[in-house]
């Protein structure tokens, strides 16, 4: 079991100040995985499904 409990959240709070700045967040690298196995809910369309179909608005 990973640290997904209250204890974990407390640890997060202690590390709160260590969060990166916006410029660092913008350097995110996207890990490309099989899009047919990727499921997402799109904020614009509300469609939830395989990423490929969601992107096409199907």
């Amino acid at each position: 079991m990973s640290k997904q409990t209250t204890e974990q959240d407390k640890k997060h709070l202690a590390q709160h100040e260590e969060k990166p700045k916006l410029a660092d967040w913008k350097k995110l690298k996207t890990i490309e995985l099989d899009p047919s196995q990727r499921f997402v809910c799109d904020a614009a369309t509300g469609i939830c499904g395989p990423a490929v179909q969601v992107k096409e608005g199907k």
Binding site: M1, S2, K3, Q4, T5, T6, E7, Q8, D9, K10, K11, H12, L13, Q15, K19, P20, L22, D24, W25, K26, K27, L28, K29, T30, I31, L33, D34, Q37, R38, F39, V40, C41, D42, A43, A44, T45, G46, I47, C48, G49, A51, V54
Partner: protein, 214 residues
């Protein structure tokens, strides 16, 4: 390792993705060094619960989708949830705005109970038929995860924690989150969408190894 997840309580693939990640973590050698933080995201801020409409009808009218398309989508979601060992009951679920529940989530996070709160609210929405825009329901659920009910009620009925919630939205926009779930590993590696368990295993290992080199 830090995993940051943008999600909404009413996003089925967020709950399914969390379950897949949980399964991947079970066999991950360094699972005790993994920390998860949820971030607020509003998938349907304009949603309003209508007791006269089914979940599919509410979603269809909200997103201007054909009812048949919505039903097919929900059926697919139910199948995927079942495969992940999760219960989803769209006959009981109540689609609504989660805005106030997210403000309370920010308070829960501050109190060290954000992760537990998020998981409870997934189940409350998809399996228990709870109305997450109802103050009494949110207070009861928040108490279940150890929050103080009167304080939760005050937050729900005010505009408290809106700034913190909007910070999460702002950051999501800045880094290009267009849908959820959205996972970020160690503030560096992003994955959009729920992935199969094996994909999460692969990513956990890959990120861990890359971080050891860097």
């Amino acid at each position: 390792m830090k995993i940051t997840i943008w999600a909404d309580f009413v996003c089925p693939f967020c709950m399914i993705g969390q379950s897949h990640l949980d399964q991947a973590l079970e066999t991950f050698e360094h699972k005790d060094d993994v920390e998860i933080e949820y971030m607020s995201f509003l998938l349907m801020p304009e949603a309003q619960y209508d007791p006269k409409k089914s979940y599919a009808e509410t979603l269809s009218s909200l997103k201007r989708m054909q009812l048949a398309q919505t039903n097919a989508m929900l059926s697919q979601v139910e199948q995927m949830a079942k495969s992940a060992g999760l219960a989803i009951d769209f006959a009981a679920a109540k689609l609504c705005s989660t805005l106030a529940a997210h403000r309370v989530f920010q308070y829960a996070k501050e109190e060290g109970k954000g992760y537990k709160y998020f998981k409870r609210f997934y189940q409350a929405h998809f399996a228990d038929g709870e109305l997450l825009s109802d103050v009494d329901a949110v207070v009861r659920l928040a108490e279940e995860v150890g929050l103080e009910g009167d304080r939760v009620r005050d937050i729900f009925l005010s505009n408290e924690y809106r700034d913190k919630m909007e910070e999460d939205f702002r950051l999501a926009r800045e880094i290009g989150v267009q849908g959820v779930p959205f996972f970020v590993f160690n503030y560096k590696y992003a994955i959009s969408g729920a992935q199969p368990v094996d994909a999460f295993r692969q990513v956990l290992q890959q990120v861990w190894e890359e971080e050891q080199i860097n």
